[in-house]
Amino acid sequence: MTSRCILQTALLVYFSTTVLAVNYDLLRFQLSSSSVECQNLLLQLNGTTKDCIKDRMNFKFPEEIEKPQQVQKEALLLVTLDIFQKTSDIFRKNLSSTGWNEIIVNNLLEKIHWQIEHLEEILEKIKEEENFTWDDRTLLPLKRYYLRIVRYLKAKVYSICAWKIVRAEMLRSFFFLDKFTNYLPN
């Protein structure tokens, strides 16, 4: 391998990282590691639902998002950001009935926020650099989903069973999040 060939490779690597301002490989790694960390923290919260059968609810995670091939990558990022933001909003509500460890909950919020910051930066960059026409309707199915969860919590007066059901639902949403990150481009 001649030194010229190495130089060319180095130049290619350097230029490709400057031209493609959004590093999707890095983003994908960050998203999957954030998702894993958040899921681990959620699992540490006590969530056995065997006494809560009557509170069970199908929140109907939006099916359109379940098939991410039809969604563009910018919309995928927007959906991912919204999932993190809404999860953070939900876990800042009244948790007093749960008896969950505050440190774990704060840790979860920190990790979620860390990912939110990075996603917001990337989306700002995409807005500046790419001529992507955003559609307000992209997020509507997801907003309906989270509204169902928030209304459910309010209706159940933030009871411990309601929280356990919601916790299980949040775990499920992270599972779907993992599926989308695979559809991000290289």
């Binding site: 391998m1 960050q30 926020h113 910051e117 509507l140 928030v150």
Partner: protein, 579 residues
Amino acid sequence: MLVEVTEDVTSLASGGPQTMFALLGATTLVLVAGVPWMLPAAAGGTNLKSPQNVEVYIVDDTFILRWDRSSPSVRNVTFSADYQTLENDTWLKLPGCQSIANTKCNFSSLELNIYEEIKLRIRAEEGNNTSPWHYVDSFTLFGKAQIGPPKVHLEAEDKAIIINITPPGTKDHGMWSLDSSSFTYSLEIWKNSSSGDRRTETVYPRDKIYKLSPETTYCLKVKARLLPRKIGVFSPVYCIKTTVENKLPPPENIQLDAENRIHVLKWDYAHENVTFQAQWLHAYLKKIPGDNSDKWKQIPNCENVRTTQCVFPKNTFRKGIYLIRVRASDGNTTSVWSKEEKFDTQFQITLLPPVIAVKSTNDVSLRVYISATEESENRAMNHPYSLTYEIVFWENTSNAERKIVDKRTDFTFPKLKPLTAYCVKARALIQDEKWNKSSVFSDTVCEKTKPGNTSKTWLIAGVCAALLSIPVVVYVMKLLFRCIGYVFFPSSKPPSAIDEYFSEQPLRNLLLFTSEEQTERCFIIENTNTIIAIEETHQTDGEHKKYNSQTSQDSGNYSNEDESSESKLSEEFVHQETE
């Protein structure tokens, strides 16, 4: 028409008064019947037109429906609207929009899922008459909603202004109930006195605007934004005057560096004889509206320090984004808090140098393998930035260095000099657009190259050459011995050249020593008769004899010497006898 009638009347004056009266009656009837025709059509008719340009206008939690009348008139026309959700096929009355005389109505009391698609229809009514429905395309309340102005509360410091923003639409189940913490705010600030120089900044709900002059009036306005596309209207302009300059300024230029297992926090401060205090906060708490002043925590080892830096262990901060602020105190007064610096722990890493292994390969090249130490592998889980390596390569004796920067961990340096020592050292780099980081150089590893195939090929070539040269040598040796033999041990054979020049036997015998002794034949003459008889017999063959002697002479050259010499001798003797 009347004029014509009168003209007709006058022309028919002679026609008689009866026809004149008939004509007059007809025209008045026509006129009376025609009046309602000519006058504009009254509302009492069945042609009511539906409203035009119907528009839904939503700001925060206020839902307004606006339209235009189809025909401008001041009559008793009212409008009513209905709505329908996609699930329910029935049209329901839109609250606040029934029998409206104006051209707009407020239906904010509608309790509906703001993310559900709904359809509206509106028509004009007058008494029992109704216009056809005008339908509005389906929409969601959220989709049409615009962000209203946020509320701002200000507090002045000497060189900064503390702002406290309340998100727009603060109703509990309002339009932005799910999104209130997702708003981003942008602010425009300017000095009240000068017209130009407006500064635009992105701010948190509770934030500070720095770099201001003391005792100056500043004015500002704020607007909220929501991804992906919603941009709100600006709030009204708020103005405030900054206070007198404080005696103790706050510290500036806060830096956080990481070294192995500790963090070093540094800052700049002009005055002396002061103590400092540093605090930290989780950055995400800034995004949440509300008071977070009680959530700031003390950084260990950074309270009442006299130096402009403090050191604390790295594990104080887990992976995340933090804000740090510092203030100074001289016992009596304390300064205001410094500007809050944001730190992302993933950028605060020490890159450990890599480990190199060098192997010399058979074709006179060196192969370099780069790997990470175990400790840096453990760290790599948290730091997914891909590493680039800078490899420095030089010949042990010379100083000429070759530098390569690449992401690969396996390199080959080919075509080197055999049996020479080369040295390698490397360091890890992170080259990202946001930041640069490099580790120290690893230990230098030197390795000698192998002798290589070239000398082996020479060896093989030499062996082949040797093998091929053996017959050549043998041949040469043979020639040599021949030469030597020729010089020191000559052969006794006459050269062939002599045969040509000296064909006669006696001379030959004189010149050369032949191995055989020449013996003369002796003839004893006892009886001449016998000899003559022989002669006679021989004479008859005289010609023949001559011929023979000639031939024998000739043949003497070719045939056996002894025989020819014999015949010649006998011939000479015979000639002597006859004479």
